[in-house]
């Protein structure tokens, strides 16, 4: 309040210097400057993530059909989300589902079978062994869950970087648009019509997640009750081990993340075959995994060119 009064006095002084003259200033009765502040002011506070320890979440998309447990499906989408609270940076690393890797349940196979063979724990252990990342939490959703999430939220606003045809016939023109749940699902599953196939699909899945984050931020900024709507809709359609209290803190923290400080990339490798099936051989050691495991994020300048396919 004292500062505001000082500002009012300084403003009066500035006006005086500008031409009103000292005499006018002295003639101004003190009572004409209200003691209480007049005008607008804003204050806000929300819980934030603390410390320099990065937080890692494994985000999985299961292809289990309706009525089947999510953990019994194959993983169509595998993403590492790393968040560094101190740097206020985050990174999404997509792992192609055809990546041919040692599984925590034994043997070597496509990474997408790790979920069906070992459940969420088996999938987490497999990705941890592959990347060196230790996960704090996992989140799994399925085809139906994903559709329901975006339909319940009134659609997903997204900026599509290039035009392509979806595998079920939808057109995805370049530019800003709003997806229905079904369109979002088709966008995230389409592979064959994309230049770099599975790598581009994984990149698109990351784009979908970033678009959802941007939409959440915008809606939360406009209406704080959106936080509960997003959490409620999300929790009804995913399987996760994130405690609700922790999820609230993560939601507050993510609303504080600037999109420009979130990197989206894909772990790419060479295409090969195993047992007649198409596979992806990831390099080992993998500089992308090492980078994200170290501090939870990868700076855009540190992304190898091959790890940012189409767009």
């Amino acid at each position: 309040m004292r500062r505001r009064r000082l500002v009012a006095v300084l403003a009066s002084l500035a006006a005086g210097v500008a031409g009103l003259g000292v005499a006018t200033l002295q003639a101004t009765p003190a009572a004409s400057v209200p003691l209480l502040q007049i005008g607008k002011a804003h204050a806000e506070f929300g819980p934030s993530l603390q410390g320099d320890k990065p937080i890692f979440i494994l985000i999985l998309g299961s292809d289990s059909r309706p009525g089947t447990p999510l953990e019994e499906g194959l993983c169509d989408s595998i993403h590492i989300l790393g968040i560094n609270p101190e740097a206020k940076r985050a990174t999404l690393v997509g792992i192609p589902r055809d990546s041919y890797v040692p599984l925590s349940t034994g043997g070597t196979n496509k990474i997408n079978v790790a979920l069906a063979q070992g459940g969420a724990k088996g999938m987490v252990a497999t990705v941890e062994d592959l990347t060196g990342v230790t996960f704090d939490y996992y989140v799994i959703t399925g085809f139906d869950g994903m559709k329901r999430i975006f339909d319940a939220l009134g659609g997903l606003k997204i900026d599509v970087p290039y035009s392509f045809q979806g595998h079920e016939g939808s057109s995805f023109p370049e530019g800003k648009q709003t997806f229905t749940g079904a369109q979002a699902l088709e966008f995230s599953r389409t592979r064959k019509t994309l230049t770099h196939g599975d790598f581009d699909r994984s990149m698109n899945q990351g784009r979908l997640l970033l678009a959802a984050l941007a939409q959440f931020k915008a809606e939360f900024r406009k209406d704080p009750t959106a936080l509960f709507e997003w959490i409620a809709v999300g929790m009804r359609n995913v399987a996760t081990d994130v405690p609700l209290n922790e999820l609230l803190t993560l939601a507050f923290a993510s609303s504080d993340l600037r999109p420009k400080r979130i990197t989206n990339l894909v772990a790419v490798g060479s295409i090969g075959t195993a047992g007649g099936a198409s596979i992806v051989n990831l390099p080992s050691p993998n500089p992308v995994f090492e980078d994200v495991a170290a501090d939870g994020y990868v700076l855009p300048k540190d992304i190898p060119a091959e790890n940012a396919p189409s767009g």
């Binding site: 309040m1 209200p34 003691l35 209480l36 007049i38 607008k40 506070f45 709507e229 609700l244 609230l248």
Partner: protein, 210 residues
């Protein structure tokens, strides 16, 4: 004749009970007892309270749960605005108001004193606060067991502050407060508050003969 009168009285009593019951518990936005302030208190008008479940339970099935939580949440919000604005004894020393904030939010609220309260210099600057009123809407997020875990209280508070310098300021505080239960009390752990105070009509001069 007597039997007819008794029947009429009975119908009247039932009608009164039904109307009272509807006012207390009916409709989409049930009222909570304590909606009216007593002397030396402040009470928001509760415009609505609803549940936001993370399960597939319909929100309408959790009305009672939301209403129960709403009682405690309203108490906290009533107390906050009473201590922060209405209670002349708290002006300039808002410790009792800040006690309603939890953890880190408390220290931050103290640094936001001039937005969250009548102001750190209210004792010196304000003669009286007149006509305080406010609306409150509550949304309660429920957990996997359909029990309340956190809530948002959306408030709009209005009052006229008469300055000791004979000016009037129309106070408007609009805010969203996030609350959770701490030791059985609903406390604020996050907030977003806007003030939009405007110069009001000058108070009419007193004791000045024409």
């Amino acid at each position: 004749m007597i039997a007819r009168r008794r029947a009429a009285v009975a119908i009247g009593v039932v009608a009164v009970l039904v109307i009272a019951g509807f006012l207390l518990f009916g409709g989409d936005e049930p009222l909570i007892s304590g909606d009216h302030a007593g002397p030396g208190e402040f009470s928001f008008h509760l415009a609505g309270v609803q549940a936001s479940p993370i399960t597939r339970t319909p929100p309408s099935a959790l009305k009672d749960t939301a209403r129960e939580a709403g009682v405690g949440i309203k108490e906290t919000m009533d107390e906050l605005y009473f201590r922060a604005f209405v209670d002349t004894g708290s002006w300039g020393d808002y410790g009792a108001a800040f006690e309603l904030f939890d953890g880190e939010a408390q220290a931050r609220a103290e640094s936001d004193v001039d937005v969250l309260t009548l102001g750190s210099n209210a004792k010196d600057d304000v003669e009286a606060l007149e006509g305080p009123s406010g609306n409150l809407t509550i949304v309660v997020l429920t957990d996997k067991k359909d029990a309340p875990i956190t809530a948002i209280a959306e408030v709009q508070f209005l009052a006229d502050a008469q300055g000791k310098d004979n000016t009037t300021t129309e106070i408007t505080s609009t805010g969203s407060f996030f609350l959770r239960q701490v030791g059985g009390v609903w406390k604020i752990y996050a907030y977003r508050v806007d003030r939009d105070d405007q110069a009001g009509a000058a108070p009419s001069p007193t004791g000045s003969p024409s």
